[in-house]
Structures are given as structure tokens and as C-alpha cells.
């Protein structure tokens, strides 16, 4: 307690030159409150909620025939009908959630599975978005044809970047991908001939199936939902396979993994490429939804945001990634008037606090019993 008070005072002092005497009090008192987190079992409530939920499910399965299936169907139904009750703005936010959940899942393959910290993840998103934008504007290639092309472009860049760097230590990868993110943004900004510089590309076609054109947020919601289902399916399949185990092995102890005959380099490259592909698809979707892309959508801020989602939800966890994306998109949106610009500040604090108090995240991935 005394200790806490001392450090609170200390923080007040060092915040003085920046914040002045009054605002420093806020900052210091935030710390003071945070310092008690140590004593509370911080977000234990959420994981225990998940435990209870799992228990409830298995009980339901015992009591009612097909209980598990019924609960699942109810859950899926509720996801499907949610947008019917929401207005345009809310649906738009849900679509954003979907895009970020897709990104968070993708980044999770690199970070959560293989332990590759990618700090410039948004570059692959940008590559996907611009690939679709250019193909759509210049060649009028339809969205659904472009999605695999966007993914392919992201994979190509991922491999080109990954090949030289992945054999190095993990933290170099972090910095190099950060640099790559920055290079991508600068190139998009300066290569006027192709990318139209800071103004970006306008008039990107919306997705369409036959004569049906996706235009309202509700339409996009269902589209991103399909993408997400596919992503979750892929994620799940990978996770519970020989590859998934090998990735965890690499993440935990590369030397031991090699001694098991795991070719670390090529598996890391694979994780990196799949991860990039997810971002490429998300990027194409983003371009199609916004109908306009410009470099300012692809800053380091976005990369950090996605990373924060992964960390908050729990590395390697599907519900975690989705929860993380939802929290970091919806909560600031609800409290927009209160948070204002301090959104990012809170993300920073969330990342620090999570690593210190709950590094496994809010909805940690549990190894299955085989």
C-alpha cells in the first residue's frame, strides 16, 4: 500500500512536465487503481464464464438428445438474425468487427501458432486491398475472382519477405515486418503512376453474384460472415493437425522441434504465408466494402490494433480473436464520446497489462484431451 502510494507519487512527478499538475493526478490515479489489479483475479471472470459455458454445453448434451447440436444451431441462428434488429450504423460496425476478426485470426496463425511476431501485418492487408482495387478499376475483374488473386499476391510478398528473414531470430522478424509495413505504405503513397498516391483509388466495384450486388451493410455482414466461417474452419483444421502441433513445437522450442525432424524454416514460411493470405482476403473485402482505398488506412496503428486484438483475446484462440476484435471495435465505438482520442492509449495499456497479468488472454486456447 505504502509502496503503491510512493509509486503513484513518483508517476505524478514524472508526468508533471507533460501533463501539468492536475492532469498528472489523473494519470497517477489510474496507475494507483491499476496497481490493485494484482490483487484481484483480473479477468478470471471471463474464462470461468467460458468454463461454465462449456460445462453447460456438455450437461445439455447429456440431458437433451442432440443438446450440443441444438445449442450450436441456436448460436448460429442468433448470429444470422442479429443484423435484422440493428440499424445501418450498427451493422457497419459489425462488418468492421468481421474484417478485424478475419485479420486477427490470420495474424493468430503467425503469432499464436508459430510464434512469429509480425508487426507490419497490415501491409498484407494493403496488398490485398490494392490488388483488388487495381484489378477492379483497370480490368473490371469481379470481386470473387479477385479474392484468390489478392490472397495470392499477399502470399507472394509474404514468401519474398519471409524467405530471408525467417531463418533469423524472432525479434528480427518483428522489426523487418515493421519496416516492410512502412515501406509498403510509403510506396503506396509515392508511386503515383500506379497507386494514385495519397488520394488512393476510387470507384472500386462492389461484389456481386449474378445480378445481385452487395450494397447495404447487412449484405456485407453476411458476406464477411461466410468468410469468417471459412477462416474459422481453416484455422481449426490446421490447429488440430500434425502441422498445428509442429507449429506449437517451433514456437515453444525451436531446437527441440528440429530434433523431432520438423523443418522449422519451411513450416514458419507456411504459417507466414497463410497468415498473409488471410490478410489479403480481408484487404480485398475492405476495398470492396469501402469502394475506395488510400494509404492512410494502412498505418502502423492498424497493425498494432490487430496485434492488440490477438493479445487481448488470447494467442492461438479462435473465440479469443473474435472477442478481441469485437471488444476493440465495439467498445470504443460505444464510448466514442468518452474515449475520444485516448483509444490508442488504452490499447497500449491493455497490451502491457495483459502481458503482465494474463498473458494467455481472455479466452485462452485450451489443449484438447485426445
Amino acid at each position: 500500500m505504502l509502496n503503491s502510494l510512493f509509486w503513484t507519487f513518483w508517476l505524478w512527478v514524472i508526468a508533471l512536465p507533460f501533463a501539468g499538475p492536475i492532469k498528472s493526478i489523473y494519470i497517477a490515479s489510474v496507475f494507483f487503481i491499476l496497481s490493485f489489479l494484482r490483487f484481484i483475479k483480473f479477468p478470471a471472470t471471463i474464462s470461468s464464464f467460458k468454463d461454465n459455458w462449456d460445462e453447460f454445453l456438455s450437461k445439455a448434451n447429456e440431458k437433451i438428445p442432440y443438446g450440443y447440436l441444438i445449442v450450436r444451431i441456436l448460436f448460429i441462428l442468433s448470429i444470422i438474425i442479429i443484423p435484422m434488429f440493428l440499424d445501418r450504423r450498427a451493422n457497419n460496425i459489425l462488418v468492421d468487427c468481421g474484417i478485424y476478426a478475419l485479420l486477427a485470426l490470420g495474424l493468430n496463425i503467425a503469432v499464436g501458432f508459430a510464434g512469429l511476431l509480425v508487426l507490419g501485418y497490415i501491409a498484407f492487408y494493403a496488398i490485398g486491398a490494392y490488388s483488388y482495387a487495381l484489378l477492379s478499376v483497370h480490368f473490371h475483374i469481379p470481386f470473387f475472382v479477385c479474392v484468390p488473386i489478392s490472397a495470392g499476391m499477399a502470399i507472394i510478398f509474404g514468401i519474398l519477405l519471409g524467405l530471408p528473414v525467417l531463418r533469423l531470430r524472432g525479434d528480427y522478424l518483428a522489426i523487418v515486418t515493421l519496416g516492410f509495413g512502412e515501406i509498403t505504405r510509403i510506396v503506396l503513397n509515392n508511386w503515383d503512376g500506379v497507386t494514385n498516391g495519397p488520394n488512393g483509388i476510387l470507384g472500386i466495384a462492389r461484389p456481386s453474384i449474378g445480378s445481385f450486388v452487395f450494397h447495404s451493410p447487412k449484405n456485407y455482414y453476411y458476406l464477411i460472415l461466410v468468410f469468417l466461417f471459412i477462416a474459422v474452419f481453416i484455422f481449426n483444421r490446421l490447429n488440430n493437425s500434425r502441422l498445428g502441433r509442429a507449429w506449437v513445437a517451433i514456437k515453444e522450442d525451436e531446437r527441440a522441434a528440429k530434433a523431432m525432424g520438423i523443418n522449422c524454416m519451411s513450416l514458419k514460411l507456411l504459417a507466414f504465408a497463410i497468415s498473409a493470405a488471410f490478410a489479403g482476403v480481408a484487404g480485398a473485402f475492405f476495398g470492396a466494402k469501402a469502394t475506395h482505398v488510400s494509404p492512410e488506412s494502412f498505418t502502423f496503428f492498424e497493425s498494432a490494433l490487430v496485434l492488440c486484438m490477438v493479445v487481448l483475446g488470447g494467442m492461438g484462440s479462435i473465440p479469443g480473436a473474435i472477442l478481441g476484435a469485437s471488444c476493440l471495435i465495439i467498445i470504443p465505438e460505444i464510448f466514442r464520446d468518452y474515449f475520444g482520442n485516448s483509444r490508442m492509449l488504452l490499447f497500449g495499456i491493455v497490451m502491457i497489462a495483459m502481458m503482465r497479468f494474463k498473458p494467455e488472454g481472455l479466452l485462452p486456447y485450451k489443449r484438447r484431451n485426445l
Binding site: S241, R245, V248, A249, A256, K258, L370
Partner: protein
């Protein structure tokens, strides 16, 4: 028949000559021991064999095939498994999954297999699970199957490391101080286990400071000091070798 042969192998770290011109051969089917005082270069030698370090000089032949230019994972795939001096388990995987990772080099389900899960992939996954379970039973860890590896008691972690190594059906198994930190009854179990492994046809090369154990199970012993082979022979020969006694006790006491 020789399963492993090293020719003039040297490994230097800057000025330190951790291994110097080592010639060693291990016969198929035997349990061989590698001994030497701390810092003699035993672990470094294992790391050279298993491809962790590139050699400074020399050649390593495994079943008459040159392996010293291969990557660690390629060497492991050839059927050369090892354990580590400091235990290196995949701590956040379950015990069973650790052993399943050990089957990696004997299975082949790749990206498409994982995504599409055709019949052969499902069968492979089932057989991996089944075999991994069998190896757990073999080392006596059946009850810990779904425990996380990091929650195992120390002695069991050692056994798990062995189970993980033999899950790859190696022909040559390198054990780096498997008895370190074990109590006498655990050591006894370990001796049985190693003999059992040998009886399945695996050649075992074992580093150990536990002399009683070495004397009991090894057919051949190689003694190192300062990276140089100082003695080689049956346990009796090596334990009476003046050079070995000096290396352990110092010249004065000998």
C-alpha cells in the same frame, strides 16, 4: 556393423576447442556410454552429431552415409533421435501431444491433408494418436496422458522426453544425462527402460555422470576430456584406465 562413425571431428567456439579430432564408432545394437568431467565436450559432441552445430572440421557418418552436412531436421528424419541435457519439452502441449510431435518425421500429412482431411489423413492421425499412447505406456506415463507437459514432476518429464524421442522409431538414440536429478529408485527404473529400448533394436549412446548406471548398462564406454578421447573400451577397462582416473580426480590424487 557400425551405425555411427565420426572421423577427425572438431568443434571450436572461437578459441575454445570443445571437440578436437574425435574418432568414434558405435556398433549397431549396443548401449554405449560417453563419459568425461564437466566441460569435456560431451554435449557439444551430441550437438554436432544431431546437426545443431556445423562442424569446424571432420566428418560424421551414420549408417555409412555422410550426415555432417545435413540440417538437424534431416538428420532426425534419418532415424537419429536425441534428448537434451536441460529438459526441452513443448511445455504448453499435453503429454500425449508431445509424443505425437515425436511422430512428426514418420508421418506426412501436410497443408492439404490437414484442410481437406481425406481418409488417409484421418487414419494417419488416428494411428499417430494410438502409437503415441502406446509409447506413453511403454515409458510408464499412461496416467498423465492429458496433463500439460509443464505440470509433470521432474522425473516424469525426463521419461516423457525419452518417449518423445523413441516415438520417431529411431535406430540410434542419444540420451544426454537422462539420470540427472533422479533418485535411486527412479534411476533403477530408467536402467530398465533403457534396456527395454535397446531390446527393441535401438542403438543407444548415453552421456551420464552416474557411474554406477554407466557401468551397469554400457557394453562400451568412451571417455572424453578437454574434447579429446582419452580412453575407450569395456566398462572394466575404462574404469581402470589411469588417464580416466586422472581426468576425474586430478593427477595428485591418482
Amino acid at each position: 556393423m557400425k551405425i555411427l562413425e565420426t572421423k577427425q571431428v572438431s568443434k571450436h567456439f572461437g578459441g575454445i576447442k570443445a571437440i578436437e579430432k574425435l574418432d568414434i564408432s558405435i556398433n549397431k545394437g549396443e548401449i554405449a556410454g560417453l563419459i568425461g568431467p564437466n566441460g569435456a565436450g560431451k554435449t557439444t559432441f551430441f550437438n554436432c552429431i544431431s546437426g545443431v552445430y556445423p562442424l569446424t572440421h571432420g566428418k560424421i557418418l551414420y549408417k555409412d552415409k555422410l550426415i555432417s552436412n545435413l540440417r538437424a531436421d534431416e538428420i532426425a528424419t534419418l532415424g537419429l533421435a536425441r534428448t537434451f541435457q536441460g529438459i526441452r519439452l513443448f511445455t504448453s502441449l499435453t503429454v500425449l501431444e508431445n509424443v505425437m510431435v515425436g511422430r512428426y518425421s514418420r508421418t506426412k500429412c501436410g497443408l492439404w491433408g490437414a484442410l481437406i482431411k481425406p481418409k488417409w489423413a484421418r487414419e494417419e492421425e488416428d494411428s499417430v494418436k494410438e502409437k503415441a499412447g502406446a509409447y506413453l505406456e511403454f515409458v510408464g506415463l499412461k496416467d498423465y496422458r492429458n496433463e500439460l507437459a509443464k505440470n509433470l514432476p521432474y522425473g516424469c518429464q525426463r521419461k516423457l522426453e525419452i518417449a518423445r524421442a523413441i516415438a520417431s522409431e529411431p535406430e540410434l538414440l542419444l540420451l544426454d544425462e537422462p539420470a540427472a536429478g533422479m533418485n535411486p529408485s527412479e534411476v533403477k527404473e530408467l536402467i530398465c527402460l533403457i534396456k527395454k529400448i535397446r531390446d527393441t533394436g535401438v542403438t543407444v549412446l548415453i552421456i551420464e555422470h552416474h557411474m554406477r548406471m554407466i557401468m551397469e548398462i554400457c557394453e562400451k564406454i568412451i571417455a572424453l576430456n578437454y574434447g579429446v578421447k582419452i580412453s575407450e573400451g569395456t566398462p572394466l577397462e575404462v574404469s581402470n584406465d589411469q588417464k580416466v582416473i586422472e581426468a576425474y580426480l586430478g593427477r595428485e590424487n591418482a
